[in-house]
Amino acid sequence: MRTDATSARRVQNAGKFEVTMWFFMRISGVLLLLLGAFGLVYANLVGGYGNLDAGAQMRWSFFPISFHVQSSDVEVAPNFSNPFWNAYAFLLIGFAAAHAFNGLRSILRDYVRNPLLLQWLQAFLLVLWIFMLVAAIYVIFVFSNQ
């Protein structure tokens, strides 16, 4: 049995990240469902029921920003456009993006055998992920509040 100090530490660091991401995938998967379900129920309770068509309900549950309900026959302010829903939408998109991009990372690690290509693709994923978060911040906090 060989477990010298450096190799043991390297093993633990690599393992730490993977175990964290595995646990995060479990938690974020459940949270996504809960966040979506709560948004949907709440929107219907505060006046959406009978006024939001199926499309608007879906758009709202998975990305609760105010102009997703504007197309329907419902008063947008004050129930649908406020800092609470802005933060809520950002959380939902944040969890969804992290969950999805980590899933893509896992798929890459399964199928890409060339280590250099894998590094490049993972770096590309990271850039895409950051771009998506920036775009989400812009859409939620700037664009939809105009």
């Binding site: 093993v11 393992g15 730490k16 690690r109």
Partner: protein, 233 residues
């Protein structure tokens, strides 16, 4: 009854590519597929190559892909698979000849998880005693016969053979949850690497393939949980 059997054959000294060979054999419904193979080798084509040893489902030598599923040729009867039988070597391991695959990559994974008792305390006078409950904790995973049916049915292993594989995790489970063993943290650290348990996507092929009916995905889940919590009770 007449049984038609198609066998995926390959002789590296003669063939450029694997090919299908067809044989017709007289067999009883209660004969095992292994009996059919033995009959072909004995009476029709002596060059047919396959592994077998105990022929009673214990040694784990004759795991094959039979009608698309990983099974032991000595445990599956002709009446279970019908008159048309298709036999291939295990997937994901290099073929040596015909139905014989190179098991070395598989056993390398097995050795990597330290499949032996680690306990630095001097052994007591007679033996290391254990309660019935503590023994039952890992009873399921002691049933593994290392036939490689699970690992070679796993799509994650097909996609990337650096994955340690279900069989090695089952063997690790057998020692991790044994209270006489003190190497659990070392094994958990090994399996926490990115080529360890995280490549398991709970596809359940291993559970279907296991001829010993071990609940493999559950054992892998328990190892994942132990890595997360550090708790092996």
């Amino acid at each position: 009854m007449k049984v038609k059997i198609k066998i995926r054959r390959f002789n590296p000294e003669k063939d450029r590519k694997p090919y299908w060979a067809e044989y017709t054999v007289d067999a009883e419904p209660a004969d095992r597929v292994l009996d059919v193979l033995v009959q072909i080798k004995g009476y029709q084509d002596g060059s047919l190559t396959f592994r077998r040893s105990c022929a009673h489902g214990i040694c784990g030598s004759d795991a094959l892909v039979i009608n698309g599923r990983n099974r032991l040729a000595c445990k599956v009867l002709v009446r279970d698979v019908g008159k048309d039988i298709v036999v291939e070597p295990l997937r994901g391991l290099p073929v040596i000849k015909d139905l014989t695959v190179d098991m070395e990559p598989f056993f390398r994974k097995y050795r990597s998880i330290l499949p032996f008792l680690i306990n630095d305390e001097p052994p007591p006078h007679i033996e290391r005693l254990q309660t019935i409950e503590a023994r039952a904790r890992f009873d399921e995973t002691t049933k593994c016969i290392l036939c490689a049916a699970c690992t070679t049915s796993c799509p994650s292993f097909w996609a990337n053979d650096s994955y340690v594989g279900p069989a090695a995790i089952v063997q690790a489970h057998r020692f991790i949850f044994d209270d006489r063993d003190q190497g659990a943290q070392v094994r958990l650290a090994l399996l926490a690497e990115s080529d360890g348990v995280w490549r398991c996507r709970t596809i359940y092929n291993c559970v279907e393939a296991c001829p010993r009916e071990i609940d493999i995905t559950r054992a892998i889940g328990e190892v994942k949980k132990a890595i997360l919590t550090g708790d092996v009770d």
